[in-house]
């Protein structure tokens, strides 16, 4: 019964989304505030409908109602509760329903929160959001309803892929989708602005909070996925330049570019067309990501819940929505005003360079992801584009961006002063060079490229510190004055500093980990040992252990350094009888920011007949920074989002001024 209620609520959600689009569009045409209010009400109702449907799906998973096809295919009675709930978005149908839930949620939020917007613009935004909701809800209702029943319910479900039964991955889709779909509001605002024909500082300010929220969610979502790959796939890598990773990375790069270009549009009225383009692009890449991941067009290590037939439908949705938006852009954008002037050396120029490099980085990822498909379609020859390609293209672009970054916030608007910036930054440059030279001198083996990476990371961190010191006039005015300035800094400034600092921390971690990771593997008998990066690992025991829904063989490894015991690692190999799969559970031993990473491999027989186990251990120095960096970046985004200026509408400020 509950799942029928869910299906009905989903249908209601679709009906209200269509009503939302129609009523709001009519409101704009007739300039009627009654119709506009009706459209906003429909947005809330649509959200309520989808929320009920989503709650019904979760209920079916929690109660293991195997008469629902989706539950039978993806759940199991013995699964822990967290993964029963997470199973609701572990499949294609469920994840699309999650997408719709978040999409209508953003629609309802935009309808409620956008009070400062001009009526016409707001009505159009709600209408576009309703149109997007209608399209995706129609797809869910007619092609991918997760609440459908099956005629002969099985006694037991087929369970979720054990690789996905992991806390980080359980919460990964909600974060990732909140990021992807958050771009829909930015997209709707851009389409509305194009129809209205007005893109000004106020528009950029309205876009900013939505872009910030979506970007922060996406940052955390990507980080969670990367962390999952790090400890679940069992070979210690955290980024593979895999198509599925790339699919989430492209909207992130676009959104990052948009956050920066929107500043120029807000403060100086320039780059309006480009900001619009990025706003449309960010959601387009989000939809492209959903299509690439869900359609199985590309082979990937993370491809789960793939369905090629429905991929075509998703591709049509992508082509129609983005195609019409970009057509509108091509028609209306040339009429936008060019905005204020600026000198070659200025904050504007720095932000434009940031955007050029980020656009080129997006192009790299896009080409690397789609070129094999294009080339195979055109010539019939298959090629692979793997990490070596990205190391040669993406890495230098990002390095250039990192070199320029600390100068950007120190440059003045309109006309910057090169000498002033160098005077302020030489301390940071000296500190960064010092770190690089120290790395060369102290860390063995000596690696020039790794040391260069450390220099860049230190440059970013020191640059953020200099920027903060500059704002508080530290060391130039009395400490109490500096403190007062520090406390009084707007949250937006803090947000930027945090985000740039987070990037620096990420670069430090990534370069140190990639440059100096250690690896050792041996087939060990009980009591046998192996050494990695100065750590001595002894295999003590291997024994069976019962998990909630798996059986496992678990090893106990004693780790010591220079004779002193450090920690014990308990890696295991899990067998999930429900799906018949084997998964390795790794053990991490944290040493400061570094990880000792232990994996239990297969059991073998030594030549003399005693059993041996393949034990692999990795030393991943500073690996924690790789995941800490993005968290700090996302915190920066949220801090900036909490800035007072975001809540005070421009219109109200104008009233106050008058």
């Amino acid at each position: 019964m509950i799942s029928e209620i869910g299906s009905f609520a989903l249908l209601l959600g679709l009906a209200f989304a269509i009503a939302q689009a129609g009523l709001s569009a009519a409101a704009r045409l007739r300039r009627s505030s009654v119709l506009a209010a009706a459209g906003e009400g429909a947005a809330l109702a649509s959200f309520a409908g989808v929320a009920v449907a989503f709650a019904c799906l979760i209920h079916a998973f929690v109660t293991s109602d195997f008469s629902v096809a989706n539950v039978a295919a993806n759940s199991h009675t013995e699964k822990p509760m967290l993964y029963k709930v997470a199973g609701a978005w572990g499949s294609h149908e469920g994840s699309i329903l999650l997408w719709c839930f978040i999409l209508t949620g953003y629609g309802a939020a935009a309808a409620t929160l956008g009070r400062g917007l001009p009526q016409g613009l707001k009505a159009l935004m709600v209408a576009v959001q309703g149109a997007l909701g209608s399209v995706f809800l129609a797809y869910t209702v007619f092609a991918s309803n997760p609440l459908l029943r099956i005629a002969n319910p099985p006694v037991e479900g087929r369970s979720l892929n054990p690789l996905l039964q992991d806390p980080a991955l359980a919460i990964h889709p909600p974060f990732l989708y909140s990021g992807y779909v958050g771009m829909s509001v930015v997209f709707s605002l851009a389409v509305a602005a194009l129809i209205e024909g007005r893109v000004d500082a106020a528009w950029a300010r309205w876009v900013r909070p939505w872009a910030l929220a979506a970007w922060s969610f996406l940052t955390v979502g990507i980080m969670l996925g990367s962390f999952w790959a790090y400890y679940e796939l069992g070979w210690g890598g955290w980024w593979f330049w895999d198509p599925v990773e790339n699919a989430s990375f492209m909207p992130w790069l676009m959104a990052t570019a948009l956050l920066h270009s929107a500043i120029v549009t807000e403060k100086r009225g320039a780059l309006a067309g480009w900001s619009l383009f990025l706003a449309l692009g960010a959601f387009t890449f989000s939809m492209l990501g959903a299509f690439l991941v869900r359609s199985g067009v590309l082979t990937s290590v993370h491809a789960f819940a793939v369905d090629p037939k429905r991929g075509v439908l998703l591709l049509i949705i992508l082509a129609v929505t983005s195609g019409s938006a970009f057509a509108l852009f091509a028609w209306r954008a040339p009429k936008l005003s060019p905005g204020g002037m600026f000198a070659p050396v200025s904050r504007e120029s720095a932000l434009v360079l940031n955007n050029i490099l980020l656009a080129a980085a997006t192009a790299t990822v896009l080409l690397g992801t789609l070129y094999p498909l294009i080339r195979e379609a055109l010539t019939g020859e298959a090629i692979s584009v793997g990490p070596p390609y990205f190391n040669l293209t993406f890495a230098p672009l990002m390095a250039a961006l990192a070199v320029l970054l600390p100068a950007g916030p120190l440059l003045a608007w309109k006309r910057g002063d090169v000498r002033g910036v160098t005077q302020r930054l030489w301390v940071a440059a000296l500190a960064a060079l010092g770190c690089g030279l120290l790395t060369l001198a102290l860390v063995s083996p000596r690696k020039a490229l790794g040391a260069l990476g450390i220099t860049l990371g230190a440059w970013l961190v020191a640059g953020a510190a200099v920027e903060l010191a500059e704002r508080t006039r530290a060391f130039r005015v009395p400490a109490a004055d500096s403190w007062r300035r520090l406390v009084g800094l707007p949250r937006g400034a803090w947000g930027m500093t945090l985000a740039h600092l987070g990037l620096g921390i990420f670069v430090l971690g990534a370069c140190f980990e990639l440059g100096w990771r250690g690896e050792a593997a041996e087939a060990l008998p009980l009591g046998g040992s192996l050494d990695v990066a100065g750590y001595h690992l002894v295999l003590e025991t291997v024994g069976p252990r019962e998990g909630p829904n798996y059986e496992s063989e678990r090893a106990l490894i004693q780790v010591s350094k220079a004779g002193k015991p450090i920690c014990t690692g308990e890696p295991d190999r899990r067998f999930y009888p429900a799906g018949g799969q084997t998964v390795s559970g790794i053990a991490l031993c944290y040493r400061g920011a570094s990880h000792l990473y232990m994996v239990l491999g297969e059991r073998r027989k030594a030549p003399d007949g005693t059993p041996v186990w393949l034990i692999r251990a990795y030393w991943n120095p500073w690996a924690s920074l790789i995941f800490l960096g993005p968290v700090i970046m996302a915190l920066g985004g949220l801090t900036s989002l909490s800035d007072r200026r975001m809540r005070l509408g421009v219109a109200r400020r104008r009233e106050q001024a008058a």
Binding site: W235, Y371, A382, V385, P388, T393, R616
Partner: protein, 150 residues
């Protein structure tokens, strides 16, 4: 399609770095390091986007054996890669070749930088040209400032 599902199942079952297996290692550490560097550049053909360094699939094991044997036989990295591409096509290498057919792939990102920088330079020049005053305007400014001073 079935093959792909099968490959996914294999990948799910066996996704563990296998290249470090001590049983297969070459006795000479320098040669082994060379082998590992090549593994990272060679795709496991039946897997989901994995190098043979990472994959435990049977085919990856076979390819690793081939590479190690050729290194032992004294072949150079380039020769080994050529051997692999002759057999399996360009698909087997993780790094696409620098060839005319891949021009868009390799040059595309840097093309974006060049075009972007060009547009920026053009905008800056146009804007500064607009910003300059015409002779009449300059004359008027001069007269105004003179009358101010007077």
């Amino acid at each position: 399609m079935r093959l792909r599902v099968l490959a996914a199942a294999i990948a799910g079952l066996l996704c563990m770095a296998a290249a470090s297996d001590p049983a297969d290692r070459l006795p000479d550490p320098a040669q082994e390091a060379r082998a590992r560097a090549i593994f990272a550049d060679v795709r496991c053909l039946v897997c989901q986007n994995e190098s043979i360094d990472d994959s435990e699939a049977e085919l990856a094991g076979d390819l690793r054996r081939v590479v190690r044997e050729q290194i032992k036989a004294g072949k150079s990295d380039a020769e080994i890669k050529r051997f692999l591409t002759d057999r399996y096509g360009e698909f087997v290498l993780m790094r696409p070749a620098f060839s005319w057919t891949n021009l868009a792939l390799w040059a595309g990102p840097f093309g974006v930088v060049v075009v972007g920088a060009g547009l920026l330079a053009a905008t800056l020049r146009n804007r500064s040209a607009e910003a300059e005053l015409s002779p009449e305007e300059a004359e008027r400014v001069k007269r105004l400032s003179e009358s101010d001073a007077a």
